[in-house]
Subunit: 302 residues, 2 copies
């Protein structure tokens, strides 16, 4: 079996993870988490979201967090921008990358943002244009790419359609996201094949949730297709606030443990990564939601 020699991990814990905590986490803690992740060797971190604080109070400190980070050369800092207002606020923080998002499920799109998939993507056109004019890289996340809490299974054709529309508005990279974690290897392969109709293998990420314990199998299946970029969340922080029972971004620690075991280069120091996950878990007064972290912390305890 052929695997990529290198994998790039994007840690989405500070944004995707902490956005789902009921009580907002102080900016200083978020900044410390970002610093710990970059010290552990992460080269891309999804830091925050420039979104209305009325809707997402957890991200109200977006500008403060971005300003507080001591940037490390070679690390990319990305932020979510749901609209032009968000983008205009974001651009002042000088992100390397912005993230826009669309669902591959019509029902999910309608219920959560009250418009069709096509309309939702069309709304991002000025955002993507403005970002590229500012030399900011544009990533698009395709949520519910395998399954949807309302529609059930999602046809790969939907993923292809969303990929095509994102391509049309100038999105440079797409993430295929199994938002509710129902994906299994064959289904994920099909979603990836659909994405590959419109984007090259170097411009696609996998974003898997471990809700049903399937994320590492899905990562392995994607690796075998040459996909070498993955979104993961330190300590398994996060989930999706709109999808019932959809806790469970895959833990960065579990993915890195697998990749290192496979001899795939990540540039990440697993011990430091575990410390970073332990730091934020301690703050949140819970244990890291990562089996590799749990096993290695037990081992350390001796």
């Amino acid at each position: 079996m052929k695997y990529p020699a290198k994998v790039k991990i994007v840690d989405v814990g500070p944004r995707d993870g902490l956005q789902n905590e009921k009580a907002p986490v102080p900016a200083a803690i978020k900044i410390e988490l970002v610093h710990r992740l970059q010290d552990a060797g992460l080269t891309e971190i999804e830091v925050t979201s420039f979104v209305s604080p009325k809707w997402v109070p957890q991200m109200a400190d977006a500008a403060e967090v971005m300003a507080g980070i001591t940037r490390k050369p070679g690390v990319r800092y990305s932020v979510l921008t749901p609209n032009m207002k968000g983008f205009e606020a974001a651009v002042l923080s000088k992100p390397d990358e912005i993230v826009v998002f669309a669902a591959a499920s019509e029902a999910f799109s309608q219920r959560n943002i009250n418009c069709s998939i096509e309309e939702s993507i069309e709304r991002f056109r000025p955002v993507a244009k403005a970002a590229r004019a500012n030399n900011i890289y544009v990533r698009g996340a395709i949520s519910c790419a395998v399954g949807c809490p309302y529609e059930g299974e999602i046809a790969p054709e939907r993923v292809a359609m969303v990929a095509r529309l994102l391509k049309e508005i100038g999105v440079q990279h797409i993430g295929v996201a199994d938002t509710i974690g129902v994906g299994t290897p064959v289904k994920v392969e099909r979603a990836m094949e659909a994405a590959l109709q419109h984007y090259g293998v170097d411009d696609i990420s996998g974003h898997f949730h471990d809700t049903y314990g399937q994320a590492l199998g899905n990562t392995l299946a994607s690796l075998q297709m040459g996909i070498w970029q993955y979104d993961t969340s330190s300590a398994g922080l996060g989930g999706c606030p709109y999808a019932k029972g959809a806790t469970g971004n895959v833990a960065t620690e579990d993915v890195v443990y697998m990749l290192q075991g496979m001899g795939i280069e990540t540039g990440i120091d697993l011990d430091k990564l575990i410390d970073a996950g332990k730091f934020i878990s301690d703050y949140l007064e819970r244990k890291p939601n990562s089996r590799a972290s749990t096993a290695l912390l037990n081992k350390r305890a001796g």
Copy 2:
């Protein structure tokens, strides 16, 4: 990617799982678990171990449990027999299959059974012979096939050696067991290749632990090699009492969820399986150690 059309799951929860509970579980509960597993569609169940009650009080009721099961046609009931004394007791219970075991780690063998790998297998020669004379199928488990708590990584050559020795004494089927859960796909592929030097693809099982969250990835990698038989444990019961931090047989529920999602036939009713895992977990006053079970039970709760 080519996958087997059918997979056979051997649920080892009643033995491998419950052997690791500090307080022995009553025979009636074990029998009920076996009944629930066979009702869920399991076609092989590792029921108990005929071992000295002084060493393993959890299995002191082996004969009682075997006698209490209402056998279902088409289901195989296997038991562990560590020596001739165990075999002689086991044979009265009419198991379909006995299981003998050897480690692929010399240090593990020395520390836990105080003899070399070769000696440990030689001791099973009369057991295997007697079993085959009684028309009982003989399975061999190769523990620490990927890693060992004392030696660290295990060379595939060790697995090949143990497989060869087991073959020589008449063992008909071998299980490649990652007892401490440190395996990752490439290492597991190499262990399987080593096993395949001496056994056909139809005579090899995978037995993975989820200690580091790697079991489903390892299962997927093995499926791709044509391996279609797996030991799993309902509700993720169990572990290895001798290996520190080695809790975590992979949950049957998580494996079945993956297989069903991939369109691979298992003959198992996932809902009934979840009920069986919930039954034993309720008795043990804990939650099932299975992400798929947790997610589906949350969904049921509505």
